[in-house]
């Protein structure tokens, strides 16, 4: 039978605030174990939570970017369960009143645009990290209390590829907004997949299986594809799908059972009494929104419509946030956008890659690269010379200085070129004769002689034009 794959994603991502969700302790991913904690994170008796306003601000930005309606009354609830990675014995989350509801994200599947609806976004706190050794468990509480948002999609995703595109797009949005590092490899972004199958044409959902803790976009895609196929085989054989939680085994590229669902767990949610509801005024929300960075879709649109870049060029820039920001910086010096994009994407990135550097580590400043584009387009140097200048710029010098030191400036002074033209013509009467007899090659020879005399610095176009002019007069 033909089936439709129904997928919804639950994504947890850590907000990159300086301090934790409910305490003033700092957090760095690479810090030594148990150095980023205080009495609140460790749930010492008598401690109380204090809401991190920066985290709320970032959550509001994310909700705005993904088009969710924001609940201006921020409220928190307790989710009660005992586990050694959960110091308080409850997690402070937003069960009853998430900060955002009903949003969407558009993905582009080889030119076909599709909307994936987002059910809700809520704020909560992360748990500690546990390391289970042979006969002991080590706990690093640095991560305990780190701000998290959970982004829950509607079951609108229909394939592993769509899921991968959705997560990629979400990652891009998160990083452009600078609300999260969204690094799946470091665990700052984690994904749970809900997947079920139903016969094509049916509008009834099948039994769903949850695949927990996928840690890369490739794994999300592979896990969905494997699981869809597994479920298809069971259904085709007339079997039924067990409601269960599975995990993806990277070695075998299969999903395996973690636990069967035996009724749902009762987390005994109730409103957090230590945090009164916080009302965020419309002015405050407007202010937060007005200071939000430009989103990738808007940026791409601007590149195409305002700068006249091709869709391909625009997407090349957008694909890397740092590259796009670098390009925006270059465009502060009103230069030709196409030329700017070319030198950035084809020349600079290429040279950086060879040197094992990237756009964030390079010594080439955007304003200097913009100046180089300007010098080339004014004809002060040739584009060939431009490449030479750029290779020196990689070590940190500005283009004007390099051109002057190396004497690379093209000769564009009319009187100086005129003098050279006269000299060349005087020295090559035969070529004049040839030219007059219709041998076009003679002009090329004369230009070459002139370039030689100018040690390559004469502007070739000016030289050629002036030679033609003078030849006509002789």
């Amino acid at each position: 039978m033909e089936y439709e794959i129904i997928v919804g994603l639950e994504i947890h991502t850590e907000l990159n605030t300086k301090t934790k969700m409910f305490s003033g302790a700092p957090y760095h991913f690479k810090a030594e174990a148990n150095t980023c904690t205080n009495e609140v994170d460790l749930a010492h008796p008598g401690t109380l939570p204090c809401v991190n306003h920066e985290a709320v601000k970032k959550a509001i930005e994310l909700c705005t970017a993904l088009d969710l309606s924001i609940d201006p009354l921020v409220r928190f609830d307790r989710k009660n369960y005992y586990y050694s990675d959960l110091p308080k014995g409850y997690q402070i989350t937003q069960q009853f009143h998430p900060i955002g509801k009903d949003g969407k994200l558009q993905i582009d599947d080889d030119g076909i645009k599709k909307i994936i609806r987002i059910d809700r976004i809520h704020m909560e706190e992360d748990t500690a990290k546990q390391f289970h050794l042979y006969d002991e468990t080590l706990i690093d509480f640095n991560r305990a209390g780190v701000p998290l948002v959970e982004i829950v999609s509607k079951p609108d995703i229909r394939s592993g590829k769509e899921a991968a595109l959705y997560v990629e797009k979400l990652r891009q949005t998160l990083t452009y907004l600078d609300v999260s590092c969204a690094k799946m490899e470091e665990g700052s972004m984690r994904c749970d997949v809900n997947i079920s199958l139903r016969p094509k044409g049916s509008d009834v959902f099948g039994t769903k299986v949850e695949i927990k803790n996928l840690n890369s976009i490739a794994n999300i895609k592979d896990a969905i594809e494997y699981e869809a196929n597994r479920q298809k085989e069971i259904l085709d054989d007339g079997g039924h799908i067990d409601q269960e939680t599975r995990r993806f085994d990277e070695k075998t590229m299969t999903t395996v059972t973690m636990r069967k669902k035996e009724g749902s767990v009762d987390y005994k949610f109730f409103p957090e009494p230590n945090i009164f509801p916080i009302l965020i005024s419309q002015e405050e929300i407007d202010h937060i929104v007005s200071e939000m960075p430009e989103l990738p879709d808007v940026k791409e649109h601007r590149y195409i419509e305002v700068y006249g870049l091709s869709t391909y060029d625009a997407s090349q820039l957008i694909a890397n946030k740092e590259l796009a920001l670098y390009f925006d910086e270059m465009m502060k010096s009103s230069i030709d956008p196409k030329a700017a994009c070319n030198i950035l994407v084809s020349e600079l990135v290429g040279q950086l890659t060879k040197r094992g550097e990237d756009i964030t580590s390079t010594k080439v400043q955007a304003k200097d690269l913009a100046r180089l584009v300007e010098l080339i387009s004014k004809g002060d140097i040739s584009s060939k010379q431009g490449k030479e200048v750029l290779s020196v710029m990689l070590d940190g010098d500005d283009p004007d200085k390099i051109i002057e030191e190396r004497g690379l400036k093209q000769l564009s002074d009319t009187s100086a070129i005129e003098k050279l033209v006269e000299e060349v013509l005087d020295e090559n009467p035969t070529s004049i004769e040839d030219y007059k007899n219709g041998k076009d090659r003679a002009l090329g020879f004369l230009v070459g002689q002139l370039m030689k005399k100018s040690k390559g610095q004469a502007n070739p176009k000016m030289a050629s034009d002036m030679l033609k002019d003078k030849l006509a007069k002789r």
């Binding site: 009495e39 460790l42 749930a43 010492h44 008796p45 008598g46 401690t47 109380l48 939570p49 204090c50 809401v51 307790r78 009660n80 005992y82 586990y83 050694s84 110091p87 308080k88 014995g89 409850y90 468990t137 706990i139 509480f141 009762d266 005994k268 949610f269 109730f270 009494p273 230590n274 945090i275 009164f276």
Partner: protein
């Protein structure tokens, strides 16, 4: 012992005086869990060199804080509660971490893991709880000020049984940061003194916004002790009719009546008010459901993983289970079960949420009445302190449900409420309770001062022989 009298003593002698008393009383009262000998005066301020006792659920950096529970019997905090910092800044010196009902979940002080605390007036009687140790030390004249906490009436009831002043100000008036909780929405920091003036002064030191407690208030802290005014002419005072009627002991009613008559003589306008009788019978069950639901979550951090008395096991889960099984008394476990039960998804609507609705109805009714009057007055309890071996009272009688539980209204509504002595019955103290509108502590102290003038019991303490 009051602050003024102590101030006549050289600073260097005040601590020694209090410590000697605290130590001397320990055998008889069993009021201290930890006696603090090495605390130094570090600052000058409103409580310069004044010895203070702290209930053992107040976090003191480097000083054991057990909340009278086995699960914390080795717990030494790494941080000071906000009020501990404030008291230190005001020059106070700490001499005792006092006994309490285990985790503040009780009203007798019989459930402390070190055994019961004894009433200075009669060692065979309870102090009341949960802040019993703090009440006993103030009542016996060891310290002029002791801090407690009040979730239902845990400061005001022991104050009545021990014949001293017990204050629970408005919710948010004093920071709760560093107080081992019972029930967050009902918990208040409270305190004991021997007179109204000291009570007003103590609030100046303790009150104020604290960014570590998001529920603390930005409301201005007044110089309450300088604003005191015993003139009650024109004050509108309401007798809490339901409580008065529920009390069977005529001698307690007579003592109360005498004060009311005197207040009226001083120009106060007195009336008697009644609230819906069914609502009043709900005070205790409403409190019990909300308090225990919050408590079961609040104490989920006590698992032996990061601090406290750990019992080892084969897995983390075993450690947590064994620690909690061994660490709590059966009395606490019973309350956790009740709290948990009312939190279950299938029970929440008809238990916790219903209790929260009833709480709101009660508060609305009381606030409505407080629009017309400045304060509600009632006897703090229908009886003198019960005997330690007294079997529990009939918990379904009106006398118990209303007369012994009415002070929880102050916790439901976050209203300032205090108890002070109104006399004696059989040589044992009885108290009167005043409850006012939120953040009207100044008015409450004024009314209390007028009553103190009437009773003449200012600074009264019991010498324990």
């Amino acid at each position: 012992m009051d602050i003024r009298t102590l101030e006549e003593m050289p600073i260097s002698e005040r601590k020694a005086y209090a410590l000697k008393k605290v130590k001397g009383l320990q055998d008889k009262l069993n009021a201290s869990i930890t006696i603090i000998e090495d605390d130094e005066v570090k600052a000058d301020g409103k409580l310069m060199g004044i010895p203070v006792a702290l209930k053992d659920n107040i976090s003191t950096k480097g000083i054991k804080t057990t909340a009278a529970s086995d699960i914390l019997d080795n717990y030494v905090p790494v941080y000071d509660a906000t009020i501990v910092k404030k008291l230190k800044e005001a020059g106070a010196i700490f001499v005792s971490k006092t006994s309490m009902d285990e985790l503040a979940m009780g009203g007798t002080n019989r459930t402390a893991n070190i055994g019961p605390c004894h009433n200075p007036y009669d060692l065979d009687r309870i102090t009341g709880g949960s802040s019993g140790g703090s009440a006993a030390l103030v009542a016996a004249g060891a310290v002029p000020l002791a801090i407690g906490s009040d979730t239902g009436d845990s400061v005001r009831k022991p104050a009545a049984y021990c014949g001293i002043v017990g204050v629970k100000p408005s919710y948010g008036r004093i920071s709760r940061y560093g107080i081992i909780p019972y029930a967050s929405s009902l918990d208040h920091v409270g305190y004991f003194t021997t007179n109204v003036e000291d009570a007003a002064l103590a609030l100046e030191v303790l009150a104020g916004r604290d960014d570590l407690d998001m529920t603390s208030s930005y409301e201005e802290v007044l110089e309450y002790s300088k604003l005191l005014d015993a003139n009650v002419k024109g004050r509108r005072l309401a007798i809490f009719g339901n409580v008065y009627d529920a009390i069977s002991d005529s001698s307690i009613k007579e003592a109360f009546d005498k004060i009311i008559v005197s207040l009226e003589d001083k120009g106060a306008i007195i009336k008697k008010v009644y609230f819906d009788g069914d609502l009043m019978k709900c005070l205790f069950p409403t409190y019990f459901i909300i308090a225990n639901a919050e408590a079961t979550a609040n104490h989920s951090n006590l698992d032996g993983v990061r601090f406290g008395h750990r019992i080892d096991g084969d897995s983390m889960e075993d450690v947590m289970m064994a620690t909690r099984t061994r660490g709590f008394s059966s009395f606490i476990k019973k309350r956790f079960v009740i709290g948990s039960y009312s939190l279950f998804e299938e029970n929440q609507e008809r238990l916790l949420k219903k209790a929260q609705r009833v709480r709101r109805l009660i508060v609305e009714a009381v606030l409505n009445e407080l629009k017309e009057v400045d304060a509600l007055l009632a006897p703090a309890s229908g009886s003198i302190a019960p005997r330690l071996d007294d079997p529990s009272s009939d918990e379904l009688s009106d006398e118990y449900l209303i007369a012994e539980n009415h002070m929880v209204i102050g916790n439901f509504g976050g209203l300032p409420s205090m108890t002070l002595p109104m006399g004696f019955k059989d040589d044992l103290p009885i108290g009167i309770n005043i409850t006012c509108n939120a953040f009207k502590e100044e008015e409450m102290f004024d009314i209390a001062l007028a009553i103190e003038d009437i009773t003449g019991l200012k600074g009264h303490v019991k010498e324990v022989l």
